[in-house]
Symmetry: C2
Subunit: 232 residues, 2 copies
C-alpha cells in the first residue's frame, strides 16, 4: 500500500510471534485497502519488513493469510462486543453499550470497518456457492454474538422499551449505521461542500441519535444538541 522509503535494517532479534503479528498487521492494512484480489503479497512482505518467503512459512497461501487476518479481526471484535453486552443491564443499556463498543473497536482500527465491508461480499459469494470451502470458521464466532444481540432487541420490544420493529430486518441496519458513521461517506461527506466536513464525533452522535429516535419508545433526549452522550 504505502510505498515506504527503503525499509530499514530489519527486526533486531528473532521472534516468531512478533514476526507473525507484524505480517498479520501489514496484511490487514493491505487487504482492507485493496481487497483480496488487489492486495500484493510482495507489498505486505515489504511493509512488514520481512522476506516474502516468510509469509509462506507462516501461511499456506494468500487466501489463507487473508483468512487469518479476518479471523483475528473477528476474535478482537467479538471479544469487545460480547463484553459490552455482558456488563450492561437492561435492553436499552445493552443496546447503547453494544453500539458504543462498536464505535470504539472500529474507531481504534479503521481497517476493520473496510475489511468488514469486503467480508460481506465474500460471504455473499460463498452463499451463492461460487466459492465453497472459503470462510467457514468465523461464522461460529459471529453468529452467536448476533443471536445474543438479537435477543436484546427482542427483549426490548417485548417489555416496551423499543418500538415494535421487524427485528431481523432492522438488525443489519443498525450494524451498518455504526460502520457508516465510523467510516463516513466521502461522496456525501466531503463533496457536497468542502466546508461541511463532518467529524467522526458528529457522525457518531448523529448515528446514535438517529438510532435511539427510531428505536426507543420514550424519546427523552430528542434531537437538538448532539452531545456525545456515551463514554469517551
Amino acid at each position: 500500500m504505502k510505498t515506504l522509503p527503503a525499509q530499514e535494517p530489519r527486526r533486531t532479534k528473532r521472534d516468531a510471534v512478533a514476526t507473525k503479528a507484524a505480517i498479520v498487521a501489514a496484511a490487514l492494512e493491505e487487504f482492507a485497502g485493496l481487497g483480496l484480489a488487489g492486495a500484493r503479497i510482495d507489498e505486505i512482505a515489504r511493509s512488514a519488513r520481512v522476506n516474502k518467503a516468510l509469509l509462506y512459512y507462516y501461511f499456506e497461501s494468500k487466501e489463507h493469510l487473508y483468512q487469518g487476518v479476518v479471523e483475528q479481526m473477528f476474535v478482537a471484535m467479538t471479544g469487545a462486543l460480547r463484553a459490552a453486552l455482558g456488563t450492561a443491564d437492561g435492553p436499552r443499556e445493552k443496546l447503547l453499550a453494544f453500539l458504543d463498543a462498536n464505535f470504539k473497536v472500529l474507531a481504534g482500527k479503521p481497517a476493520y470497518a473496510r475489511l468488514l465491508e469486503q467480508e460481506m461480499d465474500i460471504v455473499k459469494a460463498f452463499l451463492n456457492n461460487l466459492k465453497p470451502d472459503t470462510a467457514p470458521k468465523f461464522f461460529q464466532r459471529i453468529a452467536p454474538l448476533l443471536t445474543e444481540f438479537r435477543a436484546v432487541l427482542e427483549e426490548g420490544v417485548k417489555c416496551g422499551v423499543f418500538r415494535t420493529i421487524d427485528i431481523d430486518a432492522v438488525l443489519p441496519l443498525l450494524l451498518m449505521l455504526v460502520r457508516t458513521a465510523v467510516r463516513g461517506i466521502p461522496l456525501a461527506g466531503k463533496f457536497i461542500s468542502p466546508s461541511r466536513k463532518v467529524s467522526a464525533q458528529r457522525r457518531r452522535a448523529a448515528a446514535i441519535d438517529f438510532i435511539t429516535c427510531a428505536l426507543f419508545t420514550d424519546n427523552a433526549q430528542s434531537g437538538r444538541s448532539p452531545k456525545p452522550g456515551l463514554s469517551q
Copy 2:
C-alpha cells in the same frame, strides 16, 4: 465472473453502440463482483461475447473502462433520483420519493449497489492523494444532486416536518440505509438463523419505517405492521 458455457457464435450484425453497451454491461457485473483489481479483462470480453482487443478499441485501458462503467451508473442514477425530487411536493413527500427512487434503481440493478460501495473507497483514496487524476468527472454529476437532497432536509427541518438533526451527518446515513436495505447483510441476514431469511420487501419496509420514525416529527404511521407503503 460467471463462467459461461462456451459462448455461442457471436453477435449477428455489426453494431457499434450495441457492442459497446454489451461491453459496459459485462464490465459492470465483473467490476461490481470482483472490484477493479479483481476484475479480469478476458472474462469481461468473454461474457460480452467480444474479442478482447475490442475493449481496447473502445476504451483506453482497464481503468478507463472502469470509469466508463461508473460514469454510466451515475448518469442512470442521478437521472432517476433527480426526477423523483422534482415531481414530489413538500419535504416529506420529496424524501419519500427520493428513497423510493433509490430502492427502485438499486433493486433494478443490484450491481449498482455493490459498485457504489467500491466507489466509496476509490473516492476516499482519491481524496487522500493516493490516486490523482482518477475519478474527477462524476463528482459534477453527484454533487449537485446531493446538494438538492440536502436542501430538502434543511427545508423539512426549518418548517418542522423533520426533527432537528445534524443534516450533514445524517445524510450519509440515509443513503447507506437504503443501500443496505437493498443489498442485505448476509452475515446478519442469513447466518443468524437460516430460517429467518428476510426478503428485500421486508428490508425495504423496515428501512423506511426506521427512517421516518427517526426523522419525522409526527409519527402517525408508527411501527406495527410493516406495510410496503410506497409504490410497488
